[in-house]
Symmetry: C2
Subunit: 175 residues, 2 copies
Amino acid sequence: MILARLILGLLTLSPMTGYDLKRHFDASIGHVWNADKAQIYRTLGQLVETGMAVVKVVPQENYPDRKEHHITEAGRGALRAWLGAEPDAEPAREPFLGRVFFAGELERDAVVQLLQERRTRIAAQLEDYREQRADLGDLEGFDRRAYLMAATLERSIGQADSELKWLRQVERNLP
Amino acid sequence: MILARLILGLLTLSPMTGYDLKRHFDASIGHVWNADKAQIYRTLGQLVETGMAVVKVVPQENYPDRKEHHITEAGRGALRAWLGAEPDAEPAREPFLGRVFFAGELERDAVVQLLQERRTRIAAQLEDYREQRADLGDLEGFDRRAYLMAATLERSIGQADSELKWLRQVERNLP
DNA sequence: CGTGCCTAGGCGACGAGACGACTAGCTGGT
DNA sequence: ACCAGCTAGTCGTCTCGTCGCCTAGGCACG
């Protein structure tokens, strides 16, 4: 369900093919959600079936035809309804914390290694986010739409940043 | 897969029934992972099939029999192997950020409301985590096992805390 | 006396997501 | 000349997780 909403959201930016969508998931909203391409195409099919989007085939030279998916008024309505609706509870799912929770089973060295590997991983991610953020420039003068999109990136940055601090602290104090 | 590991981890603390496990998921590791009870029972079945755990039926007076699941040596080995293994990439999945990302479709007031609702939600969660944390007391003198478990809770607290800060900032600066 | 909740466990169906394979023409590099 | 990679899309299978419903005895409340 959520994937359908995110796709509708992306279609408000511009009409897209499944392929275009996949690239957006890998790039612009990769820090929020990621999707399997098979899943994307299936969901696009459902959106068309339920009248949320319509397909326009655009032939190209030297490349496969583009099946452009355009959002319909019904689709826009459904998107707005979702955005304004009661958010349903998000169950916690933090695989890494799961490891840490039971890492007492390991030797101390192994725990330290676990934490350090995570640290390099998150640091790399943070670096990536910061680059994306830098590409956006100063938020002053952004309209609400652009501001909110950039804000989600800042949240991901803040998140990575606070995890790094936590990791360092745990490493320092680990008995 | 991950659920199997978490269950094995819990079984190292003490033998448990599916029912016991469900309560642990709702309480102690609720901030890390949550699981459907049907899923728990199914996974327990698999663990027994693959020799990771064995069942001991304990009759009770006035209550249904307890099917206690005890972790085996093979189970302990599998758990340690998992804890030490390469963590696989965790795709980002933040439904709320998904909303915010496209919230530009809404009126300004509706966005503010969205942010505020989230804020009360997270604040309540934070309160809950803080209570759990207070129940644990001072970390000084904890062994590694207990320290790491408490550390995951602190991570969840830090996470909620940094989200609250972000929410306030976004509300303030929202164009 | 009935209603609802607690303990304990189970079943079946469904949707979401992950993974891999396959088609097909064009482009760029060695 | 050949292999790799990009654009674009399709299919099938599998696992994971969710949801709802069911059994069944004991307990407390009103």
